[in-house]
């Protein structure tokens, strides 16, 4: 069970998208997991063949529990030393060292795989995107990896899918098959939206744990921050919803308390004259249908992504007493949930997308935050977070960094302010831009340069 954000200590496996015998490659989505905030699609970061599914659908387990066994590419069937697989270990920092990974190994199997564990750990560390590892480290030694409690309780293994004629991935998840049978629906007639076109529960009208707040808050990034959009909660029974609200609140509380406790924040801010940029955007949008228009929120995210490339010390993590620069720019977008709560899924590789693509990706991210379909890599992969509270009317954001990141960029609303342009005073649309940064990782001077770089991109839209 991966850690999908600081403050998460357990997750419920809602649905398997794979079955024993399936071949998977890195990045494949293998399961749907429910956290306090949303139902998240979990990816696998190793290639191989699924040997068995350990945890049955509907079971809630602590972070670090073995969910399934994977036979890595090239290993012989029935090889007792197959390395355990979780989508991401809770303590990726450990996986990077050539030692047996502490968490996902079941006690009774510990003896057998010891000789292979170092190789497995190294391979796992290489295959897994570094950001994901670092993001989940979260600098919390205590919560990171509960020592495989799997031995204590072993729910019945998941029902494997009937093998298809060519041994290909099943066309439906076990949960979906069960639902179809209850509904009396012919599953073959349903179009699947899951991985590989598989029919999954939501195709049958069931949305297990779809998160729904209207806003997408960043994963406990900045409690104050707004979101570019709001998501609405799914219709659940009132008591269940209350429990979930409380659990979400507690997860955010843990992460924010950790941030306050461990990160020595410094704060910088400046006003940015965006009159020219807004006019440029209006001209650009004027000839386009609404579906192709770009929001200022996307412009800001693009500016931040570009500035991260130029100032890589603000795009990374503080782990084990050192700054680790991320090798990708995954900008977390803070989205607040209706009724309370916050998620900050990442726009992966935001620096690689042109503005129009980034706008589409943002719209898609918001949609999936509401309706379900966020992926684990989006929840844990943020290398920096942006909190845009402009829509909510605040002028200035004083942010709280989401550990283990080292920066949070805040954006306030567009205000018309008097400014001096070419020697005369004019009314200019302006936004306040702020940076909350980890003083262990850098100092105010570098922070100022980073903020200035964001401002420069914001005021020179041709560079976006």
């Amino acid at each position: 069970m991966p850690s999908l954000g600081a403050g998460m200590d357990a997750g419920k496996l809602l649905e398997w998208y794979v079955a024993p015998g399936d071949r998977v490659k890195r990045g494949d989505i293998v399961a749907l997991v429910e956290t306090d905030k949303a139902a998240i699609e979990v990816e696998i970061f190793e290639a191989g063949e699924i040997e068995d599914l350990v945890i049955a659908e509907g079971t809630k387990v602590p972070v670090g529990t073995v969910l399934a066994h994977l036979r890595p590419v090239g290993a012989a069937p029935g090889d007792g030393a197959s390395p355990p697989t979780a989508a991401a270990p809770a303590e990726p920092g450990k996986a990077a060292e050539p030692e047996a990974p502490a968490e996902p190994v079941e006690p009774e199997e510990a003896a057998a795989p010891v000789a292979r564990a170092p190789a497995a750990a190294r391979r796992a560390a290489e295959d897994r995107p570094p950001d994901r590892d670092r993001a989940t480290a979260a600098g919390q030694p205590a919560s990171a990896a509960p020592a495989a409690p799997v031995g204590a309780e072993r729910p019945a293994p998941a029902t494997p899918a009937p093998p298809t004629a060519d041994g290909a991935r099943p066309r439906s998840s076990p949960y979906a098959r069960r639902l179809a049978s209850e509904q009396g629906t012919a599953i073959d007639a349903v179009t699947g939206s899951g991985p590989g076109g598989a029919v999954v529960a939501r195709d049958l009208g069931d949305t297990p744990g779809a998160a729904a707040p209207t806003e997408l808050p960043a994963a406990p990034a900045a409690p104050a921050t707004a979101a570019t959009s709001t998501s609405r909660k799914p219709a659940t029974a009132p008591a269940e919803e209350q429990d979930r609200d409380l659990a979400m609140r507690q997860a955010i509380a843990r992460a924010m308390a950790q941030s306050n406790r461990e990160i020595p924040h410094y704060h910088l801010g400046q006003h940015v004259d965006v009159e020219d940029t807004l006019r440029w955007l209006e001209d650009r949008n004027a000839d386009r249908p609404p579906a192709e228009r770009v929001l200022m929120a996307a412009v800001v995210l693009r500016a931040v992504a570009l500035a991260c490339r130029e100032h890589p010390d603000f795009n990374g993590f503080w782990i084990d007493d050192a700054l680790q620069r991320a090798d990708r720019v995954n900008v977390g977008v803070a989205i607040s949930l209706r009724g309370g709560g916050l998620i900050a899924p990442a726009l992966l590789d935001a620096d690689q997308m042109e503005l129009d693509d980034l706008m589409s990706a943002l719209a898609d991210l918001v949609k999936r935050t509401r309706a379900g379909g966020l992926r684990g890599s989006e929840l844990t992969g943020s290398t920096i977070t942006v909190t845009n509270l402009g829509d909510r009317g605040v002028e200035t954001v004083h942010g709280v960094i989401y550990p283990p990141q080292v920066s949070l960029v805040g954006v306030g609303r567009v205000q018309v302010l008097p400014a001096v342009v070419d020697g005369t005073v004019e009314a200019r649309r302006t936004i306040h831009l702020s940076l909350a940064a980890d003083h262990r990782a850098g100092d105010g001077h570098q922070g100022s340069l980073f903020l200035a770089a964001i401002a420069r991109h914001l005021t020179e839209p041709e560079t976006l």
């Binding site: 209207t214 709001t230 909660k233 609404p290 929001l295 200022m296 929120a297 943002l362 719209a363």
Partner: protein
């Protein structure tokens, strides 16, 4: 108020804010402030309207759409000249 247009506007709103479905919307209530919609929500609302009514809505006309009543009036004008 044109009922067909009002229903389409309401439907576009409910797509963006499903929890409002079934409730009565005050025609003069500011949609953004009253229902906590942000810029992305509003853009989706506008996109939904253009798709449903087949008429473009330029950005400069957004202020007309801040209330249900305003949106219906605007769209009545916008669609009255269309030939289908």
């Amino acid at each position: 108020m044109n009922d067909r247009i009002r229903d389409q506007v309401a439907a576009a709103l409910f797509e963006v804010a499903p929890e409002l479905e079934g409730t009565t919307i005050d025609p003069d209530a500011d949609l953004l402030d009253t229902f906590d919609l942000d810029s992305m929500d509003f853009l989706n609302f506008v996109t939904g309207l253009t798709e449903r009514l087949g008429t473009n809505i330029p950005e400069r006309d957004y202020p007309h759409l801040r209330t249900l009543g305003g949106a219906v009036a605007y769209l009545e004008d916008a669609t009255s000249g269309s030939v289908t």
